[in-house]
Subunit: 337 residues, 2 copies
């Protein structure tokens, strides 16, 4: 999957900002690639981007219309079809992370056949994927892992990738989820791959590279989440990381979506993760801990991070508040500047 930038962000008739978090993520992490937004009548949220028609966006160089809104059930309502068809007529590609496949909608199928545009369905990975081999690969790989789902793994990965790039290190952000894939312009929705190929897809996503090159791999789920641990373990093995960053949200009272499931103890979680990773990465290390303290006031957050750092003897930061320089300082970096 190779999604052409720049993007026009389609917000549809979204009811609130939460419904367009794909669009806000894109605006935050690849602003220069977002030429504008397109909102339908009734759309409540508004981004700090020019409002453009399809024609205007095309004139600004847009290559892909990105559906930056999610709705209940992941369906494509009829009210979007006129815009989507027009986009194809104008030879824009369309990228979607919704459940419904764009290509399954007859009018879009017809339009895309005529225009030669591409439909990118980020929720439906394009195989075939190989069975994982576990063979040792060259280059550096850092994987973010979590105590739970939705604790900031994508954010931490992107922040680390950005910080490395700013230091002149050659690095790729390897996306494994919908939003990450749109930000990177490619990747594999690892939780949508057939079970037998989880690790194989992860191996394909972060291939052998130059010895000084870093792949920063977006983690998914948690080894301690009963719904998704298989995905997390397959991704861990396939990624063959030599460095890990633990992502955590300290105010969670239970695992996301499971009211009866407690969060793992951090040191247990770290020991289990290292043991599992060492099956394919005998020299794997912790680089640090990325804590999402967004629900804590600054003083409490700083106290928590200091205490955790003392306990774990590792850099513990909130990437949003503190940046990630403490974490990447631990990595064996070789600048190519």
């Amino acid at each position: 999957m190779n999604i052409s930038k720049p993007y026009l962000l389609f917000l549809g008739d979204a009811p609130d900002l939460l419904a367009v978090k794909t669009a806000t993520g894109l605006q935050q992490w690849c602003a220069p690639a977002c030429v504008g937004q397109l909102r339908l009548p009734g759309c409540a949220p508004k981004l700090d981007l020019p409002e453009l028609s399809l024609q205007q966006a095309k004139q600004c160089g847009a290559k892909t219309l990105v559906i930056g809104v999610v709705n209940r059930g992941g369906v494509i309502p009829d009210s979007w079809l006129e815009i989507l068809n027009q986009a194809l007529v104008l030879k824009l590609d369309i990228a979607s992370g919704l459940h419904t496949r764009l290509g399954d909608i007859p009018s879009l199928h017809d339009s895309v056949t005529h225009s030669g545009s591409r439909l990118h369905e980020t929720r439906h990975p394009q195989g075939p994927f190989p069975i994982a081999t576990g063979q040792q690969r060259s280059g550096h790989r850092l994987l973010t892992v979590g105590t739970d789902c939705s604790v900031g793994k994508m954010y931490a990965s992107l922040a680390i990738h950005k910080a490395l790039t700013e230091q002149g290190i050659t690095a790729d952000f390897r996306a494994t989820g919908q939003t990450g894939i749109l930000i990177a312009g490619g990747g594999i929705a690892i939780d949508a791959v057939v079970a037998d190929f989880i690790s194989g897809a992860a191996e394909k996503l972060s291939p052998s590279s130059d010895n000084n090159h870093w792949d920063i791999i977006e983690g998914q789920g948690s080894l301690f989440h009963p719904s998704y641990a298989g995905v997390s373990l397959g991704l861990l093995h396939g990624s063959q990381p030599d460095w890990l960053v633990l992502c955590h949200e300290p105010t969670r009272t239970h695992m996301r979506g499971l009211a009866d499931q407690p969060l793992p103890d951090l040191t247990t979680c770290m020991a289990t993760t290292i043991e599992a990773a060492s099956l394919v990465s005998p020299n794997v290390h912790w680089a640090g801990c990325a804590v999402n303290t967004s629900t804590m006031d600054p003083t409490r957050a700083q106290d928590y991070l200091e205490q955790l750092g003392n306990t774990l003897q590792l850099p513990c930061v909130d990437p949003l508040r503190n940046g990630v320089s403490d974490i990447i300082r631990r990595l064996p970096l070789t600048s190519t500047h």
Copy 2:
């Protein structure tokens, strides 16, 4: 998936016995449900079953033609189509574990539309599957797990299920692989489910049941196999076992298919498995160890089993040579006779 018995076993033009191991598995584990075999010209292997035409099989009560042969690439050769189409005309169902979908072959698609027969594609699970909840379920569940792939998990599960049933215990064999599904007449090919739903599919496969009921769940892969561990972990969590049986093949020199990957130490493997299982099964126990000693002479096999039993302080048997009574003696069984 609910596959109607009895079966007519189709061996195609198989070159040798290994190519028809699905058929031999069925003959071994559900002989009364196998009315006969159908071999094409050039088929080398021959089972100890009547050779029947489609019409004869129909007269003997056959409900389903089972493709009991695998070939390179899992395709359906043109030379099979006449028989498969005739089977549908005679209103037989067809079950296949091949990669190619029967329903994707135009002539079969047409025939099945006319006849009203059913096509069972065991390699393509029929969803939708739920996201796993990890909620505690009633009834007993025993899962077989392995140090590696292909070490006898299906055999051990079937042997335990048979022994329980013979003692008057109500039990179901829950199949997670192709051959197991045909033997059971249903199940879910867990490695073919989309990654996000591995555990959810496993929960669906072994639902809450009576307190005295046992589900004997066929394990897949190994937590220590870098290609498939994600499948094994998702199945472990979704199965929520209260009892585990470790399956092992002691003469393996490396993990199946991966020449550089050593086998796990048995006690490490057991500790890791218990730790992972306890996320959803706080009271999980080992029932014993099922060892495939088929490559060892009887004396060496018996020595090995005794030594292993002393080390692990658990019943260690070869189900084929010794039966599984030592293992099921450890289970809290309540006969309903």
